[in-house]
Structures are given as structure tokens and as C-alpha cells.
């Protein structure tokens, strides 16, 4: 089997660590239950394994651009999209009033893990469509919602995000695309956008572009950017499709990975102007995009972990199968499967332990997202919002940075065979690479973490979380998990020292704080991941005696948690030293001397 959804792991992280039953009891989610989610994930797994995973490799050959500005999706993708739409999977996260199921974000993200593992390039089409749905649903007029959302929620139409321009990447204040009022309420949009994921393709009848552009009288900078809907085909009053709008894909980028996902250069208004419709109020576009940011960044964190999972499965399969060299210390010269070799074990454990920790932390953040949106007690909703805000840059940054390491370990286990494209593991490394870049690079996540999420609230959420970590430490010690308790305690101390440093320096010497921001993000990821693994070990130990308990699974959980504590948690000491004492050497070398 090329990919098998890790059903037991997903269920454990969902039900035990992210506390799905509590999320299902939130107002508006009454129809959701553990049994229903089980059924959804089981069918989702069949779809991921049976439809999406088998076309992942052929997707790597890429989509095809033609001089008539059309793009043909990679082989098999159009048919798979049709099946995806027919099965109603786009509706998993789409709002109920427009035909979606309106399920918790937690459930949708668990399903998204499987799409991303099976076929990252494909998964971006629904991911972008859902982002566009969310933006339109939150900010557009009822009239625009009625036109676009029903058919986006089914997946008949897909959506895109047109933010980036050649001179406006991480800094969107530089956006230059123009929007000129026509007089009938619509606008003429012109300009060029780059890096537009699924910007053009032949899988759906229409594509709904969300475009950032400036009105003629807009103030300069971020406060002068508005958001527009620009459909590929105009939509008639009766809902039928009309003329082709003046927007075209002028080329596709040649990328390192995710070749199955066409990354378009979009040109608006080459023949006078593309017709667009203002979403919400003028000049508030960037703020609207940021409302979706949490969900999108959490989604990319899931992507990183999901590709790691796929690489792990492939590495385990190879390590069991590949016979090479006698066992270390054995007098028997007969070769053994390389999974018997200690260093291969170490690599597999390093992959596995981080994936489990990352899944748990991402699902925990998703549950907080649901609580923030739906909790009936305002103070609880607010506390969860702060928690989400703090965790998102960590989940996004840490999961994706580690995805590069984990997929690389997957290749290492394959030896020379891994470096050969036919083996298939190189694709996971190439596909994973983008996740630490798009939707805000790790550096951007880390700046967000130290500034808005830590210093500006005097480290309140960070300290609250570290208190939670400490209460888990006490339970671990009581349960006899000595190394876990000791190492998690030490990590919490390191984390606290760094929170103090960030809070203390951010206002007065921001460059010093920023120099250690990515190490700080990693340190928090490692510590909070260790907390999740500690919680997992405690739950696994408590469940061991239950009737019908899955002894193998629960034992593996505890061993994996111990490995995490003994091999990953100690890294916090080194990171803390670099953060607190190493900032000066980051900045000392004159730029001219590089």
C-alpha cells in the first residue's frame, strides 16, 4: 500500500489530546460526535488512499501551460477532483448555510492531514478554495455570497488568493495592482500577480480569484489595499456562466516541488481591465486576508506534518525490507533488515516522535480555534483565542521546518536509492520544502511569535502554557516517567528564560530579540511537543489496564514519548543559550563583509 491513513494515531490525537468530545459539545456542533467523526475519517481515508495517493507520483510530472493561456491539470487530477466534488469533501469545512456541513475545524483538519499526506499538490486546490470561501463568507455582501458560495462550497468552482506581486512578497504594503470604479458598482482590475496556487486549470467550470488591489484614491501602504472578487468567467444573473473575464495565466512557474499544483503568473486587465467586485469595505482588504490567516497557517502546519508522515511510512517499509550488513555486534555474518541497525532505528524514532508531537499540537491548536469561535463563556473564548494566536506561528513554523529534516531523514534511510527519483522519496523532500516558505516564511512566523504573540502581552499566554507543562511534569514524575519529567521540566525552564529575554529585550533592543526569534520558535515547538507527548504517555499508561485496550499501541506511545523526551527535549538547552547569549554574533559582522 502506498499510503495508509494512520487511523489509530489520528483518533488518539483527536479524541484524547485535542478532546474532540468537548469540541462536539460546543454550541452549533451538536450533530458532531466521536462516532460520526470516526465514520467520516474512515471514508476519508479510503478516498485518500484509493484516489489521491495513487496519482501523487504522476502529479509530480506537473500541469501543462499552453500558449492560449490554458492550463491542463496533471494526469488524473481532473478526474480525482470530480470524484472529490461528487463525494462532497469540499463541504467538510464549508459553511452549512451554503451547502457545507459546518463541522468543527478540528475535524476538517484531521481529514486534511490525509489529503495532504496522500497528495500535497492536489490538496492545495481545496485548501485555497476553502480559504476563499472563508474570506467571502466573512466579509462580502450577501449578494456576492449568494452568487459565489453555493458553487464554491460544492467545489464546482475553485478559489484562489492573489496577493503576491513581484515587488510585494512578505511585504504586502508594496502591492501596486489597480482597481478603478466603473460606475455600476463593479471595478476594472489591472496588474500582475505571481505565485498564484491553482491560479488556472481545467478541473472546474469557473475560478474565483480573490485579488488585492488599490483604489485610485487609496492611501499608501497597508491601509490602502482593497479586496476584490474577480471571476474567470462572468456570472450571469441566472447563475449561468457568461463571457471570459480579462484575466489570464501568462505562465506557470518551474518549481522545486508540488509540481501537480500549477503556480500561475496571473495578468489582470491586459485588454482594458478585468471586472471585479469589492469585498466588504474599501481599503480593508489586508485585514480581511488576515482573518483567514490563522486557519491557513494551521493548514500549512498540517501539510508539513502530513508530508513527514508519508515519508515516515515509506521509510519504515523500506527499512523492514532492505537487507544489508550483519546486525551490529552479531557473530552471524548474515545480513539483516536495516531496521535492525541502531542508527536506522534512531532516524525512524526521530521521524515518528516528532510527527506524533506535531499532530497532537496542531490538533490541540485546532480545538482551541473551535473553542475561540464557539465557546459560550466569553472569557473562555478569549483565552482560547489567545492560545490559538500563540500556537499558530509555532505549529506553522516548527512543523514545516522539521518537515524538511524529517523528509530528509526518510531519504537518508533509503541511502543512495533515496536520491534516485524513481524511489519516490525525493518527491516528499521537494514537496515539503515549500511549506516552510509560503503562507509566511519561518522568519515571518517567528517575528509574529516574539512580537504580537509574546512581547505585546508580556508573555502571558506563553507563561500560562508553561504552567500547564509544569502540571504535566508533576504527573509524569508521579507516574514514574522519570526521564520525561526531568527533561520536560528542564525544557520548561529554558523556555521560561527565553520568554523573559524576549519580553525584556523586544521593546528596547528589538534586533537582539529578532536575531533569536526562529530558535525561540523551535524551542517553543520542541517544548510544547514534549508536553503533548508527556500527556500522551500519561493517557496511554492510564488506558493500559482497560478492557480491550490496544496494548501494542499504548506501549508504543509510551516508548515514543520517552524517546522524544530523551532525544529531542534536550535540544532546548542549546537553543536557549543561543537565544539569550548569541544575538550579538548574529549581527556583529558588517553586511559588507558577507
Amino acid at each position: 500500500m502506498i499510503y495508509q491513513a494512520p487511523a489509530k494515531e489520528i483518533r488518539f490525537a483527536l479524541n484524547e489530546l485535542a478532546e474532540l468530545p468537548a469540541v462536539c459539545s460546543l454550541p452549533g456542533y451538536e450533530d458532531c460526535s466521536v462516532e460520526l467523526v470516526d465514520a467520516i475519517l474512515e471514508e476519508g481515508a479510503k478516498f485518500a488512499e484509493g484516489v489521491l495517493a495513487p496519482i501523487n507520483k504522476q502529479g509530480d510530472k506537473g500541469a501543462k501551460w499552453s500558449p492560449d493561456f490554458t492550463v491542463t491539470a496533471a494526469e488524473g487530477f481532473k478526474e480525482a477532483w470530480q470524484q472529490y466534488v461528487e463525494a462532497g469533501w469540499v463541504g467538510l469545512r464549508a459553511p452549512a448555510e451554503f451547502g457545507g456541513q459546518g463541522l468543527p475545524a478540528l475535524v476538517a483538519l484531521a481529514a486534511e492531514e490525509m489529503w495532504c499526506s496522500a497528495n500535497l499538490a492536489f490538496s492545495l486546490a481545496p485548501m485555497l478554495t476553502l480559504g476563499a470561501i472563508e474570506a467571502i463568507n466573512h466579509h462580502a455582501s450577501d449578494e456576492l455570497k449568494a452568487i459565489y458560495l453555493p458553487r464554491m462550497s460544492t467545489g464546482e468552482w475553485t478559489g484562489t488568493m492573489n496577493l503576491t506581486e513581484p515587488q510585494a512578497g512578505s511585504d504586502l504594503a508594496q502591492v501596486r495592482s489597480k482597481a478603478i470604479p466603473v460606475g455600476d458598482g463593479s471595478y476594472q482590475i489591472s496588474g500582475q500577480k505571481i505565485f498564484i496556487t491553482w491560479g488556472e486549470h481545467d478541473m472546474a467550470d469557473n475560478i474565483v480569484h480573490l485579488v488585492l488591489a488599490r483604489l485610485p484614491d487609496a492611501p499608501a501602504g497597508v491601509k490602502g489595499i482593497s479586496l476584490f472578487i474577480v471571476p474567470k468567467f462572468m456570472v450571469n444573473a441566472d447563475g449561468s456562466l457568461g463571457a471570459r473575464n480579462d484575466v489570464r495565466c501568462v505562465s506557470l512557474e518551474h518549481k522545486l516541488g508540488i509540481h501537480g499544483s500549477p503556480t500561475a503568473v496571473m495578468s489582470f486587465g491586459d485588454e482594458g481591465g478585468a471586472i471585479g467586485y469589492l469585498v466588504g469595505e474599501a481599503n480593508k482588504g489586508l485585514g480581511y486576508m488576515f482573518t483567514m490567516m490563522n486557519h491557513a497557517r494551521l493548514g500549512v502546519g498540517i501539510e508539513g506534518m502530513a508530508v513527514s508522515e508519508r515519508a515516515y511510512q515509506k521509510a519504515v517499509e523500506y527499512a523492514r525490507d532492505r537487507v544489508q550488513s550483519r546486525a551490529v555486534g552479531s557473530p552471524d555474518p548474515a545480513g539483516v533488515a536495516i531496521i535492525q541497525h541502531p542508527d536506522v532505528r534512531r532516524m525512524l524514532m526521530t521521524m515518528r516522535a516528532q510527527i506524533e508531537a506535531q499532530r497532537a499540537l496542531a490538533f490541540y491548536a485546532a480545538a482551541a480555534l473551535d473553542r475561540a469561535a464557539r465557546h459560550p463563556v466569553a472569557s473562555e473564548a478569549a483565552r482560547n483565542q489567545a492560545l490559538v494566536n500563540f500556537l499558530i506561528p509555532i505549529v506553522k513554523g516548527w512543523n514545516t521546518e522539521q518537515a524538511n529534516e524529517i523528509t530528509s531523514l526518510g531519504m537518508q534511510i533509503h541511502g543512495g536509492m533515496g536520491y534516485i527519483e524513481e524511489t519516490g522519496v525525493a518527491q516528499y523532500c521537494r514537496d515539503a520544502r515549500i511549506t516552510a516558505i509560503y503562507e509566511g516564511t519561518t522568519g515571518i512566523q517567528a517575528l509574529d511569535l516574539i512580537g504580537r504573540k509574546t512581547a505585546s502581552e508580556n508573555g502571558a499566554t506563553a507563561r500560562w502554557l508553561l504552567e500547564e507543562v509544569r502540571s504535566t511534569v508533576a504527573k509524569l514524575a508521579a507516574a514514574g516517567f522519570d526521564s520525561m519529567a526531568a527533561n520536560l521540566e528542564a525544557a520548561a525552564k529554558d523556555a521560561e528564560r527565553c520568554v523573559d529575554f524576549i519580553v525584556g529585550t523586544f521593546a528596547s533592543q528589538p534586533a537582539l530579540a529578532a536575531a533569536g526569534s526562529v530558535p525561540f520558535l523551535k524551542l517553543m515547538g520542541i517544548t510544547l511537543g514534549g508536553w503533548m507527548m508527556g500527556r500522551a504517555a500519561l493517557i496511554a499508561k492510564a488506558q493500559q489496564g482497560d478492557e480491550g485496550a490496544d496494548a501494542d499501541f499504548l506501549a508504543a506511545k509510551q516508548i515514543t514519548a520517552r524517546f522524544y523526551a530523551e532525544h529531542l527535549l534536550p535540544q532546548t538547552g542549546g537553543l536557549a543559550a543561543a537565544i539569550v547569549s548569541g544575538a550579538d554574533s548574529v549581527l556583529a559582522l558588517d553586511a559588507a563583509l558577507f
Partner: protein
């Protein structure tokens, strides 16, 4: 026309099963369970017949432990209208299942009973045939094509020599083979809707059926491991080995 479809909860076909240490049975604790693939084909065929207007109601039935409910919910999500669980912790052998099916059929009065030709756990391939005998209905086993008319059904069967088509008077029993259809991927809205479809529970006692096993399992063992092969120098040595060691010539 009402169709009754029987589904069995079995170890998922992807799972590599292990024999219990005491050799009494296969270890099914904490392994993934799914609907028997042949039964999935049976449900799919009933749904297709309903979509074609040939069948008006699909009732799915399963027998066994409480968790069979999940299997029934899957069948409901695929398109069955309602479900019946005959709940029991007892070991069920084909004859007991056939008797239970007869009891349920007597109550439900379907025109068509569709079951998988066999279950992938015990591979008995007996239930459909026994049920047909107990009900006194015709049987079309190993179906790779069915054609339902008002009072009859044509069943194309996969037999050793090729394909054989028989005509049965309704009500009848059909057992499904692999090539009858390819089951669909379940749609998300149907999973949600399946939760609200009726699922009735009954027991063998309620149905007046004695399910006591008639067969006793003496021992369960893993297939013998293949031993390593040997290289021979030439054809003469090969023939000698086949003659003297393997004793096949």
C-alpha cells in the same frame, strides 16, 4: 420491490492477521474491522437497482457484536434505507446466520436477498446457499451481472467454464462475486444522513433462532513458512532431485 442485504463485519482486508498464542483463533483484538468486501458489492448492487428504479427499499442486516452497528452505518451511508442488527456475542456459523436471515426475511418479506458470496475471514461460501434452501427460494450464486424484471431475475454467474446465465423466479437469493460492480466512495452528506436513518436492534432469541455452533474449531495455525530453495548445477541434477527428494516425478 424490497431488497434485503446482509453485511458482515470482518477484519479489514489490509490487515495481516495473527493467530492467537493458544492457537484457538485469529487475534482480532484492536485490528481494523470493515465491511466484508463481497458484502460491499452486495450493498452497491442494491443501491444501483434502487437508482435504476427496480428496487424501492433497501434493508441491510448484520449479525454479531454491537460494533456491527458501524458496518451498518457504512451501508446506510452507501445508500441503504434502514438497518437491522441482530445483536449477539455468540460465535456465528453459516447455518446460524442463514437461519437468522430466514427469520428476518420472513418478517420483512423482501423480493430479493443479496449477500456476498463469502466472507473474507472464514471463506465459508455457505450462507447464501443455506438461506436459499431454508427459505425455499431460488439462488443465483457468484453473480457478475443481474437483470431484474417484474417477477424474475436473470443472474449471470461466474462458473469454472466461463459465464452461465440463469433465470430465477422472485423472491430469490443472489450472492455477489467480485466483478459484479465496483463499490462507490461514500459521499460526505450521506455519512451525515446515515446517522439519522433508522437502525433497529433485535436478538437471535427474539427471532426464535438457536445459534449454537455446530462445528468445533480444533486448532488454528499460521501457514507453514516457505523454506529456502537450493541451487542445482544442471538439468540432470534437477530431475534427480524431483524424482528422489521431492518425489513428484
Amino acid at each position: 420491490m424490497k431488497a434485503l442485504v446482509a453485511v458482515k463485519r470482518v477484519v479489514d482486508y489490509n490487515v495481516k492477521v495473527r493467530v492467537k498464542a493458544d492457537g484457538t483463533d485469529v487475534d482480532v483484538a484492536n485490528v481494523k474491522m470493515s465491511m466484508n468486501p463481497f458484502d460491499e458489492i452486495a450493498v452497491e448492487e442494491a443501491v444501483r437497482l434502487k437508482e435504476a428504479g427496480k428496487v424501492s427499499e433497501i434493508v441491510v442486516v448484520s449479525m454479531g457484536v454491537k460494533q456491527c452497528e458501524e458496518t451498518l452505518r457504512t451501508a446506510l451511508a452507501m445508500g441503504a434505507d434502514r438497518a437491522i442488527l441482530v445483536e449477539t456475542d455468540a460465535e456465528l456459523q453459516p447455518l446460524a446466520v442463514a437461519k437468522l436471515l430466514k427469520a428476518v426475511a420472513d418478517k420483512e418479506q423482501p423480493q430479493l436477498l443479496i449477500v456476498g458470496k463469502q466472507a473474507i475471514d472464514d471463506d465459508a461460501n455457505q450462507t447464501g446457499q443455506m438461506a436459499a434452501a431454508l427459505l425455499g427460494w431460488g439462488q443465483g450464486t457468484f453473480a457478475s451481472k443481474v437483470d431484474v424484471a417484474a417477477e424474475t431475475i436473470d443472474v449471470t454467474r461466474e462458473v469454472d467454464g466461463g459465464l452461465e446465465t440463469i433465470k430465477l423466479r422472485l423472491p430469490a437469493v443472489v450472492t455477489t462475486d467480485l466483478r459484479l460492480n465496483e463499490p462507490r466512495y461514500v459521499k460526505l452528506p450521506n455519512i451525515m444522513a446515515a446517522k439519522k436513518k433508522p437502525l433497529d436492534k433485535t436478538t437471535p432469541a427474539d427471532l426464535g433462532v438457536d445459534v449454537a455452533p455446530r462445528l468445533k474449531t480444533l486448532k488454528v495455525a499460521e501457514p507453514a513458512k516457505r523454506s529456502a530453495g537450493i541451487k542445482v548445477a544442471n538439468a540432470a541434477e534437477l530431475v534427480a532431485k524431483l524424482k528422489n527428494d521431492a518425489k513428484v516425478l
